[in-house]
């Protein structure tokens, strides 16, 4: 039992990958398949936001904005200039990176609530630009008629979008895993826990903070391009500040700074509102309450809490067995 758990924990990325590959094969209902795709999208968002929020300790309430920027970049490049998906995918990531830099560079000295405020403002500014720069973004009408993704002669079905999203999600998780326990990740965590120490040990905090923003923005932007090609219609209402808050909730509730926590948080907070759809508007009150209580009860997030509980359980069993032998 302990061995199985240890194996699952060590190879959690592979577990997610296998589940992600199997899910669309088993589940055929179009509505369910759509929800799986949204799980992938939010999984990428939460996992990439975790690099900035969970590892580096920078608050960011504009993560859905980067997703939107990627989606708009893909939409504009595709509908105006006819760029195919495999180009808009990278272009969207690049544009989001540029915006990540624009947000990151001037806000370096800010922390906590101040940074949260500035990032919220950034989200609003981008939204207002999307609404009013009609010649570029088509304003509130949004951009429609985005081509379905194609690679060569192969045109994407919903399931292929899921697999593409899954690949990006696995990349995000793999990146997080590699960061934990190597030089760059140690520097990020050091900035989160104590900037002064990080500086005294030779960490260029400016570089790493901007880097964390740029990296997480890039992943979100790439996810946005997948989404844009999938839904084929985007408008400023698709990417709101509320979505950014939701992504932040996924990270915090699941476990900021952990590998699996944000992804599990994303899955649960994407699926739960769908399951409770029968309760109509009451479900949001319910989910909101769960979030509040969840965070108050456990700051570390639920996934790290549960894993340490399970580890404690095994530990106790082991010691009692040893006691029995003696």
């Amino acid at each position: 039992m302990k061995k199985v758990y240890g194996l699952l924990k060590r190879h959690s990325i592979i577990v997610i990958a296998v589940l992600g590959i199997l899910a669309p094969l088993v589940i055929r209902n179009t509505y369910h398949v759509h929800i799986i795709l949204m799980c992938m999208m939010f999984g990428i968002l939460a996992s990439s936001l975790n690099i900035a929020v969970g590892m580096t300790g920078l608050s960011n309430l504009a993560h859905a904005t980067f997703f939107g920027i990627g989606a708009y970049a893909a939409a504009i490049l595709n509908t105006r200039y006819g760029l195919p998906f495999y180009l808009t995918f990278f272009a969207g990531g690049l544009v989001a990176m540029v915006f990540g830099f624009i947000l990151g560079a001037p806000t370096l000295r800010l922390k906590g609530v101040f940074l949260a405020l500035v990032t919220t403002g950034f989200g609003q500014v981008v939204r207002i630009i999307e609404l009013n720069w009609v010649s570029l973004t088509n304003g509130p009408m949004g951009i429609s008629g985005i081509d379905a993704a194609e690679i060569g002669s192969y045109s994407f079905s919903t399931v292929s979008y899921i697999y593409y999203g899954l690949a990006l999600l696995i990349l995000c998780m793999y990146m997080s895993k590699r960061l934990m326990g190597t030089r760059v990740g140690r520097a990020l965590f050091a900035i989160k826990y104590d900037e002064t120490v990080a500086r005294s040990l030779g960490v260029n905090i400016t570089f790493y903070k901007v880097g964390a923003y740029v990296l997480s923005a890039c992943m979100a932007g790439m996810a946005g391009t997948i989404f844009a090609h999938y839904v084929s219609f985007i408008s400023p209402d698709t990417f709101t500040v509320a979505d950014s808050t939701t992504v932040l909730c996924m990270v915090i509730l699941g476990g900021a700074g952990s590998l699996l926590g944000p992804v599990i948080g994303a899955f649960i907070l994407t699926i739960a509102p769908e399951i409770f759809r029968f309760a109509q508007t009451y479900r949001m009150i319910f989910i909101g309450a769960v979030m509040v209580i969840g965070v108050i009860a456990n700051e570390r997030g639920w996934v790290p809490m549960l894993t340490s509980k399970i580890r404690g359980l095994f530990h106790r069993k082991q010691t009692s067995e040893e006691g029995g032998k003696a």
Binding site: M175, R183, Y193, S200, L201, G202, L215
Partner: protein
Amino acid sequence: MALLEAQHINMFFGGLKALNDVSLQAEEGKISALIGPNGAGKTTLFNVMTGFLVPTAGKVLFRGEEVQGLPAYKYVEKGLSRTFQNIRLLQEMTVLENVQLGCHHNMKQNLFDELFISPRCRREENESRESSMEALEFVGLGDLAGEKAKNLPYGHQRKLEIARTLATGAEMLLFDEPCAGMNTAEKAQLSELILDINKKLKKTVMLIEHDMRFVMKLSDTITVLAQGEWLAAGSPEEIQANPKVIEAYLGTKRKAVGYHVGD
């Protein structure tokens, strides 16, 4: 030749003169101490010499090269590493990770090395693990490498901070009140450790300390500050005999002299 030298440092915070024309030298291979009553500006001077503050006027020379005004993270590359008055550990990280962070500036790997697990990444991570373990074993924390830093007792946390400065490979280490809050036995252990660092590892050490017995036993030279001004410098014997120092610490009453400084 002086390894680290502060020349005519002035540090003003608005109207407050925290340091007024202070100079000091730290000789290579020696242990020097910085003492003075509370509020004398010792930590401020440390902050100036390690890049956390830019002096209002004056120069900081390391190996004869001007370093004032450089960003703080560059000082460790030059060969200066410090500890803090209030222990500053990355509490949620393991003991080993805390020390490995000290190797940060010696490593070249970037995100892509880490993603593709390049040979450079593997080599550097192994090297940093080895040199960190070496530093931990040197201070006597080798078997606690996997613990979270916050779980260590106070005395060990101080040692961990020292191990971290050792792992940087810097040739000059600055310790800000390394034995604050320790009992006599722990202090004795720590003074042995600092002597070892100086003699065996050939590191130049500068420390701020309030415990006079500790300072007199360890230091080769002592600089005294009082109220932001340079007061005296010299060997422990000279400092103990200096009437100005005695006055700054104890006022002019003769009775108290033997009690503190002469001990």
